[in-house]
Amino acid sequence: MPQFEHNDTDVVVIVGSGAGGGTMANELTRRGLKVVLFEAGKRQSLASFSQNPGEAFAQLTWLEPRSQSGSWDPVKTSPTLPAWHCRTVGGTTVHWTAATPRLQSYEIRARSTYGDIPGASLADWPIDYAELKRWYQVAEKRLGVTRRNGNPGMPASNNFKVMYAGARRLGYKRVHTNYLAINSRARDGRGFCIQQGFCVQGCKTGAKWSTLYTEIPRAEASGKLDLRSGCFVTRIEHDDAGRASGVVYRDSAGAEQRQRARIVCVAGNAIETARLLLLSESGRFKRGLANGSDQVGRNYCHHVLGFVFGIFEQPVSFWRGAVLAGVVEDENVHEPRRGFAGGYHLELAMLDLPTLPLIGLPYGWGRDFASVIDNYRNMAGMLINGEDLPRADNRITLSRTLQDGYGLPVAHIHCDPHPNDLAMRAHAAAQGKKIYEAAGAKRTVLSTIPPATHQMGTARMSHDPGRGVTNAFGRTHEVPNLFISDGSVQTTAGAANPTLTIVALALRQAEHIGREIAAQRL
């Protein structure tokens, strides 16, 4: 693997190696560009993934603290882990559950479709749906998404049989084993899913797409990638002309280093991406880099989330099988008669032990709590995943109270759910309960709001430099060679699990960069 010089002004620096950064690394090296890919975490492998849930959590998770405020449940119920994402080569694609639905056309026109909702900072995306759809198709081929392009659907697990029976009895029509970036048959040099049920601990067979063993090795094979794992970028620097000139980082020994760059792409997951831009404030960019609009960190979205469990008389063994291999799509519509704007998915889900008692249950302790776990064999589970509305004050800022090991302020998360989010969650919870009751449940349980696994919106796209951080290509309005390459750019959240959209936009961004370089505009 090449090691590019610190003062090499010809490299593209990418910060973060997940869905966005890992894909960008492959796409840019494929186009002949030299790439230095920074990843704060360590590199694991199929062989090194721990199969003990507690150990795997420690191995993969971004565990630095966040400070937090607001009325959002995780502030209170999950203070040590309000957001659950990864710090490892491959980023959150190592622990993701690989659901890859598309956003719907109405969702990228949320402001036009929903109207002016008080307390929300809705906006339309600056992209046509036809354009986005074209890139979804490219991304689906890349990831080998099931039920697309001739890839078979996943076979039905026990947990899905329960969801399917209940949902169909309730009249839902679009119920299937989900769109998944998991091989339902061998393809792309990787085998088929053997239904381990350990997606979250890292897929030991590699049947699940992750940049760790797809995009990144391909970029390495190009001879153009310098992957620096265990290296944490603390600041993006700029030159006198206001162009990004490189990054400051801590190497794996903790020593401060500088890497020059011709282009910088930030893909640190929406919380850390916003934090890095804010940490990069300077005399010229006093509110943070590329933050003249004051939109960096704002409009933080994380989806309307909740688990619904059904407890049955007979065994389900819901821990067996791909975690999210099922979905009810019918509620992913804008139908204001339900009492809220936007829509949601009900996705199959299970939680292992000890994760179920840690994040899945509302009771805290005692008989109600313990009696759920007593029924672990007979449980079925689903995850509510709905569109949450962006709010200007739901935002990432630099913490005033907590610092990381380098003395830098950690991210502060402030979040107050919009009343629309709460109305949607109540509706989704009631529908989930009805599904399980239709399948014969003797008891149903709604979780508290779990830690956020989808982070979006903190550097939103907009045609208007006064209303968004980037243009429609994720290129920042103020710094022409600075790109945002992760879910931060989502103008609104929609109800789709974000990875497919992140990959689609990264593929599109890479093509844009290639075109701009060829035209000598970058």
Binding site: G54, F57, Q195, S317, P354
Partner: protein, 189 residues
């Protein structure tokens, strides 16, 4: 969180251990047919404590049982949590003092109280740091070891056994099968 690697955790056979260190001791007898039976040479088990007295350990065990009351889960599983709480406090005098004070706050006779009275007592302290730390430790330890997994039915990792593809991921028979159009074929015959 590493208890999963050693199925018997910190439990030792009472028949083999020698009482040298430790201020307290927590003992019990495992049930016939317990998954632990295969792991210990005898049915008696013992946890040697570094901070807690035997009486304190018994009170803490009663507290943990009240937090997570699984009547048919044997004390040996709960003793793993007692041991973890004890070990956490061993390295730091302030933590020792906090733990001793926390257990004292349970009051006299906590162990022999009826469950309703224990719940009532815990309600008074549930917002405090002592209760919250014991609750969190209970969740992290009690449900993350092979004793609990065997008890509750969680079969854990499956990679070493070829996944669940041919081991029951779709063996549910009490509901209709899903049509192929809404699912997909098995990848192997």
């Amino acid at each position: 969180m590493n208890k999963g690697a050693t199925p018997s955790g910190s439990l030792q056979s009472a028949e083999r251990r020698v009482f040298v260190r430790g201020v307290g001791i927590l003992t019990g007898v495992i049930a016939l047919g317990s998954p632990l039976a295969a792991l210990l040479p005898g049915r008696a088990w013992a946890v040697e404590l570094r901070v807690l007295s035997s009486a304190e350990a018994a009170a803490l065990l009663a507290m943990i049982r009240t937090i997570a009351p699984h009547d048919s889960l044997e004390d040996a599983a709960y003793a793993l949590v007692v041991n973890a709480v004890d070990a956490d406090a061993a390295g730091s005098p302030p933590a020792r003092a906090d733990l001793n004070a926390g257990i004292a706050s349970l009051g006299d006779g906590f162990v022999v109280m009826p469950e309703e009275a224990r719940i009532e007592r815990l309600r008074h302290i549930e917002s405090g740091a002592f209760f919250q730390s014991v609750r969190l430790k209970t969740l992290l330890v009690l449900y993350n070891n092979p004793i609990a997994w065997a008890h509750f039915g969680f079969q854990g990792e499956s990679f070493s056994k070829g996944g669940y593809l041919l081991r029951g991921f779709n063996d549910l028979k009490w509901l209709p099968e899903v049509p192929l159009a809404d699912s997909g074929p098995m990848p192997i015959a």
